[in-house]
Amino acid sequence: MSAVLEVSNLRKTFGGITAVDDVSFEVREGEILGIIGPNGSGKSTLFNCVLGQLTPNQGEVRVDGRVTTGMRPCDLNRLGVSRTFQLLQVFPQLSVRDNLILAGQEHQGSMFSRLIGHPDAGLGPAAEQMIAFFRLSHLSDEQAGALSYGQQKLLDAAMAFMAGPRLVLLDEPAGGVNLTMLGNLRDRLQAYHAQRNATFVVIEHQMEFVMALCTRVLVLAQGRIIAEGTPQDIRRNPVVIEAYLGH
């Protein structure tokens, strides 16, 4: 299996603080990789470096073998790297359907084609399908901002999947979601993964969620990878228990 994402010797410092310290790992096609670690362990910084939100001081990021270090988030999006957000990001006054159409890269094209082209940009049916997949069909015409927090989390995930990405980075998808909705979200992520053999990287605090969803887990502490393995291995790893679970 080929690597969809390769991160090598990535380092990011802020002033005197090294947030990510010489981190290397790869994500293989069809894998769900979990990245866990205590607060301040560098998970979000790592994510932001991979997604082009931050430029690393050192190291390289490759997507499908192509170096993407220093690319802008929108360029990565075009290459098939999409993301969900820890702090929800939707277009609150547009309908759920319009949110998905926008996420489906319909923005491409000239001003003229945007003006006279079909308003759905040919993405209407795909958007409806994605809405149905996330069981939000009854809300398709609602404004995204009117949805509950959990429903918006589902929408956020649906938007990340809309462009048919190679790789999806999920930033704390379980954060602030109640247990019922969490089960729902996990179920949909797993179903999507099974259907498309999609590749995910998940940053998460909620251990049960990570253990149930991920096929492999990396543990970060103080900017370094301190353990790697299957969820079962990680649970039993004394280093991890010391650094993280033991608290």
């Binding site: 957000f85 890269q105 923005h107 308003p119």
Partner: protein, 291 residues
Amino acid sequence: MASFVQLVVSGLATGAIYALIAVGFTLLWQTSQTINFAQGEFVMLPAFFILASMNLGAPFWLAALIGIALSILVLGLLFKLVIVDPMLKHGVLPLVISTIALSLFLKESAKDFYSSQAQPFPALVPSTDVHVFGAVVSTQSLAVLAVAIATVVALHLLLNKTRLGRCMQATAQNPTLARILGIPVRRMVLYTFLINGALVAIASILISPIYLAKFTNGETLGMAAFLAAIIGGFNQVRGAILGGVILGVLDNLSAAYISSQYRGAFPLLILIAVILLRPQGLLGRIEERTV
């Protein structure tokens, strides 16, 4: 009753013009946090573009088109590039002060380069009276209403029924996400400035036959648009429309039935009431901003 209908219709006509100005005002705010205190002068100026073109021999329809085009170019594109882009980096307040300076500059320029006298301005239709439900209504009012409604409908279709409009709305609602998704955010913001340029030019064509073209016209119009936007809701296009219409009708009715000396006070009373009871405006959304 007859005079009531008459007052309402002419109030609707002025209100519709206020609405156009206020809509442009809120569009700029929504996409780029620009509070344009020169918006009134933006409406004053195109009338002079048109008069100048007519002085050069252009027929009215051609002069009107030239006026709209110049307005889009100068009050849309140039305003964005020369004033908004450099100033917005420093925050909202420096930009606000710059637009106040711009309003003075435009006003004085119109006075010095054209005339300090009120200039007659051709009306869209010959002024005759028609009878509607027993009331005498001027064709001018009806023409103003028709053009204003057509403009608002066109804008609504653009914003809600085209891909371009959806991208513009996305830019206004969440520029961060829009940028990540690859929407050309800067260009979308520029488009709203061009649209505002067109809106103020249309408003100018509609209002100048009534008020005459005068360099001071911007003072009242800018204030009316600002009040309309606050009353209706600063962050909603429909709010600006509602605010404009309320203001126009209220102005006419209060002058006729309560006191014409205090007509300027009634919009302010409504403003105070709205700010006290519903600070987000009649149709506005409560915003959480971390600016």
